[in-house]
Subunit: 162 residues, 2 copies
Amino acid sequence: MEDEVDRLVAAWRAERPDLDVQPLHVLSRISRLARHLDRARRAVFAAHDLEPWEFDVLTALRRAGRPYQLSPGRLLRATLVTSGTMTNRIDRLEAAGLVRRLPDPTDKRGVLVRLTDKGRTRVDAAFADLLAREHDILAGLSPAERDTLAGLLRTLLAPFDL
Amino acid sequence: MEDEVDRLVAAWRAERPDLDVQPLHVLSRISRLARHLDRARRAVFAAHDLEPWEFDVLTALRRAGRPYQLSPGRLLRATLVTSGTMTNRIDRLEAAGLVRRLPDPTDKRGVLVRLTDKGRTRVDAAFADLLAREHDILAGLSPAERDTLAGLLRTLLAPFDL
DNA sequence: GCCAGTTCTCTCGACATCAAGACATATCAT
DNA sequence: ATGATATGTCTTGATGTCGAGAGAACTGGC
């Protein structure tokens, strides 16, 4: 069975027979899968009235454990956005009642962003649904295949995590 | 050896011991890898004075084969952007001298976007460099492992391509 | 103590994208 | 022919992000 990537590779081979386009078989599929995952995530979050960026911030706080609070600085490093973006995001999450801004008692420049009860409830429900959906996406693979896949991906990822 | 994703999974297990977070081992690694690939691509393109979006449009034209031309409509479907975005992109590529807009002789509404010689040279060089970089990224895997990985990814991707 | 350099959050302006719609041309059934 | 619908491209307005920098507070060496 031929898939989209096979057709892509075939088109390149026809146009650039001088090049080794093998890498596309792995890497183009990874990029495509990531796009599909983003779409699937977006659909799950929409059912909980959350945008992907809201989920990203809320899960960072949720993973921190009680009392579910982090500084804006730690949040922006956790979510890989700039400080201007994070200020905007916290503003909107605060307006939605999902987080609160508190003064940092140990640093007068600082602020702590804390998950509200409403925020915790919301993100917990969305995360459970997300995992259910991700489970479905992996349904085509046996447990052994999933382990193999995870291992190969880990090898590929290792050089970047340095 | 523990990687970032292992730590992420451990954090979730501590906070949500009720959930099966196994899917993250595969799917979170795919998303992370895609982000790293985007960064690597961006770096390669920068050496050729190209933005990722420019590369996307130019490669769509390049893959079409001689005379390297497509309508804006086909381009936007190939690159998954909206028509407003594509108009803007073609405007800028035309200003940069990498493509030209020609009237479509068979449809008076239509336009054909054609790669200039300068555009073809540029995208060919960038693509060769990209493949070299992607080859490096896969260096940690044996040829057999790459095949296994490509096969597993294809299985995961199949349900989306319907 | 004090000053230089660092860290923290927020503000501002520029920009690429999207969604919706405008406008012209094609296509098809009647 | 004619009208209705579809198609193709471009325009417009809103939005979220980034990059640069401002202002306040912390830190360490002297």
